[in-house]
């Protein structure tokens, strides 16, 4: 059951000209949150902009005694709403609705977990990594970006004990090229007897490419899709993706309640807007 919290901004840490990490006081949402779920944020008071914006729950925050106090959002400025969030100051208040959506299915050992993130697609993985590590699952993050300076927050994962594999398109850090380069190498190296689960979030073409790679290697792969969302609760049918049902028939499926996480084989990639 989602709740709507009038959440105080605890802090807003600018990581670069367009990335920031926004910490929100919303314990009730943090308690209920599962990896891969999201919140709908009202980025300003008033009607400009009118609609809320969806954001993955990045981290769950705890106080010294370990009690959950809130959550963070990894925000990338791309338009009006994300610009307002980037500019938000501590003390401001934002309506925060959540947790919403279908979470990732976290695997247990001996299965291994490989998370593949492109850019701000890193956001859903901090919570997933925490959950996986807590279960003792060996967890790797393939983290790609255009340039080295666009790789943010990797330390969050390293601190958790996640094995991080970097790639940058300009070769500034880790493998040169798309994130699929080190991923394919790693898949080729990995014994088929090892049970692997792939989790992907990033730009649509990247997710599609990873889904193809995963299929080619016969690996199960979950993707977290980012559609424009009007309500986040199944009310408006704006957020549909074409996804196959049990019988393989494609249907417009609401990504806010039947997703945002989908098994990659369900998605009709050709139909996804880029």
């Amino acid at each position: 059951m989602p709740v709507d919290v009038d959440a105080a901004v605890i802090s807003n840490t600018r990581l670069s000209d367009d990335y920031s990490v926004l910490a929100l006081a919303a314990p009730a949402i943090a308690e209920a949150a599962q990896p891969g779920q999201f919140v709908m944020l009202k980025v300003s008071r008033g009607m400009d902009p009118l609609l809320r914006r969806p954001f993955s729950i990045f981290q769950r925050l705890r106080d010294e005694r370990g009690f959950l106090t809130g959550l963070t959002v990894l925000n990338k400025r791309i338009g009006k709403g994300t610009a307002l969030l980037y500019d938000a100051e501590a003390g401001a208040r934002l309506q925060c609705l959540g947790p919403l959506g279908r979470p990732f299915e976290a695997v247990d050992p001996p299965a291994e977990a490989w998370m593949i993130a492109g850019g701000v697609g890193l956001a859903p993985f901090a919570t997933l990594a925490e959950t996986l590590i807590a279960r003792g699952t060996a967890t790797t993050l393939f983290y790609g970006a255009r340039r080295a300076q666009d790789l943010h927050c990797a330390e969050v994962f390293e601190r958790l004990g996640v094995h991080v594999v970097y790639s940058t398109e300009d070769g500034g850090r880790g493998a040169r090229g798309r994130v699929t380069v080190p991923l394919e190498q790693a898949l080729a190296r990995t014994d088929r007897s090892i049970d692997l689960r792939l989790y992907v979030c990033g730009p649509t073409p990247m997710m599609r490419a990873v889904a193809m790679v995963a299929a080619a290697h016969g690996r199960r792969c979950e993707v977290s899709l980012e559609q424009v969302m009007g309500c986040g609760l199944g009310g408006c049918y704006s957020c549909v993706v074409l996804a196959r049902d049990g019988s393989g028939a494609p249907h417009h499926t609401r990504s806010c309640i039947d997703g945002p996480v989908f098994d990659a084989t369900r998605v009709v990639w050709e139909a996804l807007a880029h």
């Binding site: 709507d4 424009v228 009007g230 309500c231 199944g234 009310g235 049918y237 704006s238």
Partner: protein, 314 residues
Amino acid sequence: MSVDLSVSLGTLTLSNPLIAASGCFGYGVEYADAVDLSTLGGVAVKGLFLAEREGHPPPRIVETPAGMLNAIGLQGIGVHRFIREKLPELRDRRAVVFVNICGTTIDEYVELARILSDAEGVAAIELNISCPNIKEGGITFGCSLPGTHNVVAAVRKVTRLPIIPKLTPNVTDVASFARAAEDAGADALSLVNTFLAMAIDVDTRRPKLTNIVGGLSGPAIRPIAVRMVYECRQAVKIPIIGMGGISDPEDVLEFMIAGATAVQVGTANFVDPFIWYRLLDGLRAYMARHQLSRLADLTGTLDATSRQQAWISS
């Protein structure tokens, strides 16, 4: 002071005037965990055809100043699956269900009405003759006076359920459509549906919606919708369900004073799914402030005598 929020749409009495607008509240069941459906005056479910429909490819919505465009294309599970899969839960949750129906021919509307009349737990039929997002049917009836009359009259013959045609604002004289619907036997009217509109991505020079055009809803349209309710109030006797941009208690009151008996809330429910509680609180506060014991007494009470004398002529 005990306050009475109930309103009557002909034979149908609602505990309060707030109805979730069709297409903005799924089939109602999506919200059942978050909101107690029985606290709403009613729930208008997503527009249903006889058959299942996949609707338009995304993107289906785009935000605009104080509003949004949608071109969902009436995706839906069809009336049979609705009755089987959704209606029982709505009944259990004690929701007052308005079923919004859409057809491409009069026969389809008639068939839908017939099927729903036999179902248990349907409070009223909202006739969607105003969806701007589909080529066939719907708005072609809603933009023609004989079309409106004929659909309503045909459905009237096959059901005793209250019939509530939903009018489009995309016409020159909405009041004449209200009269046509009343003459044909409508029990109440819903207005307005969305305004046909579009938005363009100037960098790609392509429409922002796959469907090119879509329907404008939200606060942006409220002043036009209020005017239309006011015009229809003077043209017909049957109750009016007003909508278009309602976001605050004052907006509900504005529609009621203009002539609405009940209201629907669509877009604002996306922004705040718990809006119902805020609106009900606001209505109660207004009633207390104005020592109003029956909210229904507000309907159509606009004082339109000139606010001040015109001190000069010409």
